[in-house]
Point group: C2
Chain length 472, copies 2
């Protein structure tokens, strides 16, 4: 059984930590982007060093008080918010944002967990390197949270998920011991891979305090295009054609539906529309190439072949970096437009690549049997990862459909699960999908997860109720 | 406490499994390539299905009998050999070698654990794809063992280690339950990543029975070159120059020393020597490029620049696939030549890339204080992974130096550890390096590993004594 934060614990923490570690528990720490949860916390601690994190964890472990690790607060599944249970310590990494070292010749950067993604990208850039993790919230998301949730984003196709961009981690385990795993090695087969266990565990097995991140050479030239496609099947064929022609140079391949552009026009009218009359389906292709290849030329060659094959009735190739940025603004603004419209139910799903057309073809009619919705389907086609979000018809609100939410979710998740897909492709489980994990997860996997959680965190202090139901 | 195989267990297994699952325990199952261990086993079981593996594990768990999972038997650290303790069941995956499915449009192949690497490579090739895992033992190593040990090899620089080439696994856990994790997804954030935990656990947390493997597009054109380099520092500079010029197209970047070529001349005289008078240091560069780039031209351009910069006094560029194969034969035959010479002590180490020249510069003099040896240093420079092997002087044998082995090993491992390196870069821990892991491993990591092992395998039946000391 966990205990709430007590005056005695606070006294102990004040004796162990400098005054600066104690911050006001502002309301922002108890909110999350989609407004589905309201948190509670007994105390906000923002340590400045790994030792201070360890001291905090040790004190909480002895007092049996829960800890909610807090990064940039951008998570979409409530992993950073504890709405019920005994009031926890909220441990924010916001003061641990040092970039400890950059090793350009090794393509490695060592960052503390509180470093903001955009700052890491900028530091890599200053060293003439690329840190390829990129997503809409990069201006506020922090490295620790990005690793704890194994964040995805737009460059996974080429560079992998957050876990693929991490060579080593330093972390504080639930007993307060410090895992010193900040190795800068490409190969290290010395025992169980705890790095990969903590990455994606959403703070339930320990708190990542620093990471050795993998940088890449910065592509010499970049370019982008928006191609209209006849439909998802054609988009997949175009993906294959793009890979065959351009190979490893394809950094992103994003699918968008006209609904997304309509939402933008409705809620963010200042954003320039790339097509006067948007097609039903389109893809955003981004390239990063070496010195010898011209991206615009590569995209023109691709368009000619795709057009001839009936895969691209229309297309726009960015003629400047400004135009490339415009294309990306469209893509990256869709989540905000969605939030302004107000989704009834959002689904971050993945299916095997070849199942995407069937999923899209079956999703719409299945939902139509439940009610009359608008669907905005967009996402990382190259990764088989779609954001399949369901909205009210114009003139109605989310509240009008609230009673249909469970049926919508079950409809989509059953379909995804039946196709061998995932009900959380990149956002994680948090608290939002604990039930879904129980419903769709492999029983042997769940049993092993519970055994590992009990072994490493027997009292259950680390992010109680996230990923796995809180015990006791 | 474990029990040896009993007649009762054998009766139970014979009732549960078909006759074909029982094979003769031939001596080959009790030997390993370097001849350091002799195994023992009570029974050899070769199941044909995952259910049969599960039935075997359940019976052994109830009887508290150890299981040694057996793949191709090519491991170099004794992970497949149990020299002491109660006689275990040896569970060979040799009859589970089906390739269950190939999905070319998804770049995925699903193979059973007993599939031989060369067969998987060939199946990928037949689908016009590449399965990039490649190492000297690929004609006998099996997928299950390659994943259990997170095998490396020559293409890690471009494509990653075995774990990076696996999207999902099916495995039998120590309680006999089946983990159904054969997902073909690029993104799946639904709970702890048990795939990465089992990969590299060397059969101590469960038995991998099948895997969804990641294929790559087959490079349109390949090429190779051997460049003489003035030394390790220049080799690193050449690696950076190669990356800057050729980018993602660099598939392998292997360092070799003249000693390796001398060993080849001495023990395998039929292998053609690429240089009449081999330089002290040389690198083998392998490229896989798209249709638009000519590998020989790219290598010639590289040579001109490298030569002008003093990084490549001499060089050979393969003028045909036959010549490329000759270069690779040289590289891939070095381990066999080493075995024929007979190493006193072999070290599969990695250090941060920028520390390689210092490691090599300091290793020789440090060893010279212990005795008079020949050193063959070669390996995967691009990964910071060297095979640093110590040999007798001509006319002497390994036995003459046996008493110096512990001092040699400590000397090298202390040096590596002090540089933030790994004492097992790609071969794993097995039984050979259990002591080393205890000596050099992070204490918090070891404690967490032991807790996880106890949680998932409380009786300790899975590969007892590998990676972690056997309990009891």
């Amino acid at each position: 059984m966990l205990s709430p934060v007590t005056p005695e614990l606070e006294r102990r923490l004040r004796a162990a930590l400098p005054e600066a570690a104690f911050r006001d528990l502002a309301p922002a720490y108890l909110e999350e982007p989609r407004g589905r949860y309201t948190g509670q916390g007994g105390l906000l601690i923002a340590p400045e060093t790994t030792d201070q994190v360890a001291a905090t964890v040790r004190a909480c472990a002895e007092a049996r008080v829960g800890i909610v690790p807090y990064g940039g607060g951008t998570g979409l599944v409530g992993g950073q918010i504890m709405p019920d249970g005994p009031a926890p310590v909220i441990l924010s990494l916001e003061r641990m944002r040092k970039l400890r070292a950059v090793y350009p010749s090794e393509n490695v950067l060592v960052a503390e967990a509180g470093a903001i993604l955009a700052d890491v990208q900028a530091a890599a850039d200053a060293a003439d390197r690329l840190f390829p993790l990129s997503l809409a919230s990069e201006g506020s998301a922090r490295i620790g949270g990005l690793l704890a949730t194994n964040a995805g984003g737009v460059n996974v196709l080429r560079y992998g998920n957050a876990r693929d961009l991490c060579l080593g981690i330093e972390a504080v385990l639930p007993d307060g011991s410090v895992l010193n795993g900040l190795k800068r090695l490409r190969k290290d087969n010395t025992g169980y891979d705890l790095r990969h266990l903590l990455i994606g565990a959403e703070g339930t097995l320990g708190i990542i305090t620093a990471a050795a991140l993998k940088l890449s050479p910065r592509p010499a030239q970049t370019g982008a295009a928006l191609f209209a496609v006849p439909g998802p099947e054609a988009a997949l064929d175009l993906l294959a054609m793009t890979g065959a022609r351009i190979g490893d140079g394809v950094s992103a391949f994003e699918l968008m539906h006209r609904t997304g552009l309509d939402f933008l026009a409705e809620t963010l009218p200042d954003i320039r529309r790339p097509f006067d009359d948007p097609p039903d389906w389109m893809v955003l292709i981004d390239l990063g190439l070496g010195v010898a290849q011209d991206p615009a030329e590569a995209l023109e060659g691709l368009f000619v072949e795709a057009h001839a094959a009936g895969l691209a009735p229309d297309g726009l190739i960015a003629q400047s970096q400004a135009q490339r940025a415009e294309f990306w603004t469209v893509r990256e603004s869709i989540p905000l437009a969605n939030r302004r419209i107000g989704a009834i139910s959002s689904h971050d799903i993945s299916v095997p690549l070849s199942a995407i057309p069937a999923f899209i073809a079956r999703g719409g009619p299945a939902l139509a049997e439940i009610g009359d919705f608008r669907i905005n389907c967009f996402g990382h086609l190259g990764d088989g990862n779609l954001h399949y979000n369901v909205f009210p018809q114009p003139g109605k609100t989310r509240a009008d459909y609230e009673h249909l939410r469970p049926a919508i979710k079950t409809c989509i998740y059953d379909l995804v699960h039946g196709m061998g897909g995932s009900v959380s492709a990149e956002h994680g489980v948090g608290r939002l999908k604990v039930d879904d994990l129980e419903r769709y997860g492999d029983p042997a996997k769940l049993a092993a997860m519970r055994a590992i959680k009990a072994a490493l965190d027997p009292v259950g202090i680390m992010n109680p109720g996230a990923v796995l139901r809180a015990s006791g």
